[in-house]
């Protein structure tokens, strides 16, 4: 289809079962849409994304010669790729597709206002039809993929990913900012669920990584600069000790920067007594030999644990999440301490020993007569410190009794929080963060390893708090994503970049200062100075186009005309129909 051809728009309104149709009158919307300008066909269907829904689109394109398709369904952030593929299969250019979000933006957030929701749906469809009429086919470009992956973070996740890529026969460079591999796992003694010494795990993996001819390990190093796009990223890595910088090209990146153990200042007397320590510190002690009470260097006789320290605090930003490792880790070490200690007490809220083998760990702690007591979440345990030591008072919810205990050591099960420098990492790799502060995946259910930045994956505790097993699972999975990019050798990229209309450009340099990527420059062509966009560098943000005083920049797939047409379509309808009438 040429761009000169007059638009023939097909509108497909999805019921999404009850999800949309339960609130929005989809039949009515489809009926109204059939009257909108350029609409050749408007219909509705139970599930547009199902095979039969997809077939319907293809069929109608062929039957009626539709050259623009509007699907009014769910968020384009989920299904735009699906429907683009569908229209392509029917011979249309993928950029001639437009999606309207009737679910996340209408039915689900206006559940009690079916009429207003239906009107909003009508308007949104009208706006998208207007935009669709102005959509232009764009060339689909592919770029080659540099057969080399960057892995950031040398904990078990980073190690697993680098090893897998190397074993598969491709190059991986592992960048770790400290002088050691193994990350937080290297600080642990033995691991649940099978009591394997953490050292064995770290040694096995580090030795293999060091021996692999495909894996390059850069210790004491951090990524300082990052540029380019999927398939071809340029990376600058700086060695923090030698201050030397090295540059490399990679096709894909796995971010495995893990977590920091939370330092629970202000919680349960932490910092006020040397005998109040974190679970992380206790593990380090065990790793280095025996557990001794810090103030006396004697084995502790009475030990208490408190769960969820810095976790599960509703309304406290960055601390609302469950840290997912601590219940099981706590139960494991509590049982082990019982070999020496007279009494070991575990104060908990819920016991979340959910994973494979975790209940065995929990049961063993009970068999060892670790005392479990559920504290009152609304009235958390109180810690007093005086000359005679630590006094712990709490309300045991199950018996209703107020209890007291004098531990000679108090262990706080501290949360996992995003590591220092996570802000920088997010910025460098354009990652978004979820409410817990960890990096956001592309889709929480079905795409937990890829991110919204094409070519960049996340794995392990960098994605959310979790155990080593769950971390390395994600790491191998992320490696699979990286490897398939490299194995295919090339990848399609978005054509939604900026371009300059020479005749309109006044060479004012506005776009040059506006572009975050240095993609715009002023060049002399045939003696006349005009702006140029280096497409490979353009990320398509459109900042230049919005700034250009001469309207000389065309943002492909987001042109001024396309945007203005949506505004006009909405407002003309608002007046024709008398505003958002009731």
């Amino acid at each position: 289809m040429g761009s000169g051809e007059s638009p023939k728009v097909g509108v497909f309104v999805c019921h999404c079962g009850h999800n949309i149709a339960g609130t929005v009158n989809v039949e009515h919307v489809a009926e109204l849409a059939s009257e909108f300008p350029n609409v050749e066909l408007s219909t509705h269907f139970m599930f547009m994304c199902s095979d039969s829904g997809q077939a319907l689109i293809r069929e109608k394109i062929e039957e009626l010669g539709l050259n623009r398709v509007v699907v009014a369904s769910c968020s384009p952030r989920m299904h735009e790729p699906t429907f683009r593929k569908v229209v392509e299969e029917a011979g249309l250019n993928r950029y001639c597709f437009e999606q309207v979000n009737l679910r996340e933006h209408v039915s689900w957030c206006h559940m009690k206002e079916p009429e207003a929701a239906t009107q909003k749906a009508r308007d949104l469809v009208r706006m998208s039809v207007a935009r669709a009429s102005l959509l232009e086919p764009l060339e689909v470009k592919t770029v080659s993929v540099e057969p080399h992956a960057l892995v950031v973070g040398g904990g078990v996740s980073g190690l697993r990913a680098a090893l897998d890529i190397g074993d598969r026969g491709f190059r991986a460079t592992l960048v770790e900012r400290t002088g050691n591999l193994g990350g937080n796992l290297a600080k642990l003694s033995t691991l649940y669920p099978n009591n394997e010494p953490a050292k064995d795990v770290v040694d096995r993996m580090s030795l293999a990584a060091e021996a692999s001819e495909n894996v390059t390990i850069l210790l004491n190093s951090e990524v300082t600069n990052f540029d380019g796009h999927i398939g071809n990223f340029e990376v600058t890595v700086k060695n923090n000790v030698t201050e030397e910088e090295s540059e490399m090209k990679v096709g894909t990146v796995i971010v495995a920067t893990g977590f920091d153990p939370f330092e629970p200042i202000g919680y349960y007397g932490y910092g006020d007594s040397p005998d109040i320590i974190t679970l992380s510190a206790l593990e380090e002690m065990k790793r280095d030999g025996t557990v001794l009470r810090p103030s006396t260097a004697q084995p502790p006789k009475n030990v208490a644990f408190i769960s969820c320290v810095g976790s599960r605090e509703e309304g406290v930003k960055g601390h609302e999440h469950c840290s997912r490792y601590c219940c099981t880790a706590m139960a494991k070490v509590a049982a082990e301490l019982r070999e020496e200690a007279d009494e070991v007490l575990m104060l908990y809220d819920d016991i979340r020993t959910f994973g494979k083998g975790h209940e065995d760990v929990h049961r063993r702690a009970r068999q060892e007569h670790v005392i479990f007591s559920k504290y009152n979440k609304k009235k958390k345990p109180a810690v007093k410190i005086n000359d005679s030591g630590i006094m712990l008072k709490w309300n045991d919810v199950l018996s209703g009794e107020n209890c007291e205990f004098r531990p000679d050591m108090l262990v706080l099960a501290n949360a996992m929080v995003p590591p220092e420098g996570a802000d920088e990492v997010a910025k460098i790799f354009s990652l978004t963060r979820s409410a817990d502060g960890f990096f956001n995946e592309e889709h929480i259910k079905l795409a937990p390893l890829t991110t919204h930045t094409a070519g960049i994956m996340i794995a392990g505790a960098a994605q959310s708090a979790k155990s080593a097993t769950d971390s390395t699972t994600q790491a191998s999975g992320a490696a699979a994503k990286a490897v398939s990019l490299i194995a295919r050798g090339e990848v399609e990229i978005e054509s939604t970049v900026a371009s300059v209309i020479d005749e309109l450009c006044s060479a004012c340099h506005t776009c040059v200062t506006a572009c975050p990527y240095g993609a715009t420059s002023i060049e002399a062509t045939k003696g006349v100075e005009v702006a140029r966009v280096t497409e490979a560098k353009c990320h398509g943000c459109g900042t230049c186009a919005a700034g250009c005083p001469s309207g000389a920049i065309v943002m492909r797939h987001s042109t001024d005309d396309q945007i203005s047409s949506m505004i006009a379509a909405l407002l003309s309808s608002a007046f024709v129909h008398g505003g958002g009438e009731k």
Partner: protein, 144 residues
């Protein structure tokens, strides 16, 4: 056109929103998946980045009769394109002056930051703007 009396009785604010794809559009998605309810008066236009929002789009919308305009993007420092939102913020200052200069109530426009994880914040922003616009009353510049 309709008379003022009729207008006020039937009137519901019409608000145009520009949301960047990476944070606020996703935040609005999250508001939906979390079933957070907010006023149905906004019509979202998805742009890649708030940096794409030409002040002319905002003026254009008001000029054509929108009662309010919302621009929503990533928090400063979190822009998917590093700094598009900062450019928007700089333009916004000028835009506000222009709007006030034209005698339009600043209550009709709003620039907000809402990340992909802040469904509630997005909804709250919409609620607040809708209430303000409702107080400010219908805005029909083109026809007055």
């Amino acid at each position: 056109m309709t008379t003022a009396a009729v207008e006020l009785k039937d009137w519901e604010p019409v608000i145009v929103a520009f949301c960047c794809n990476w944070c606020s559009y996703a935040g609005a998605d999250l508001a939906g998946t979390s079933r957070i309810q907010y006023p149905p008066n906004v019509r979202i236009i998805r742009v890649n980045c708030t940096g794409r929002v030409d002040p002319d789009f905002v003026l254009d919308a008001l000029d054509q009769g929108a009662d309010g305009v919302l621009v929503s993007g990533c928090h400063p420092g979190d822009c998917h394109y590093t700094s598009g939102n900062l450019k928007m913020r700089a333009r916004w200052a000028l835009l506000e002056t222009a709007i006030e200069g034209a005698g339009i109530s600043p209550d009709r426009v709003r620039l907000q930051w809402a990340s992909a994880s802040e469904g509630q914040r997005f909804a709250d922003g919409v609620k607040e703007l809708t209430e303000k616009v409702r107080k400010a009353g219908p805005f029909r510049r083109k026809w007055t």
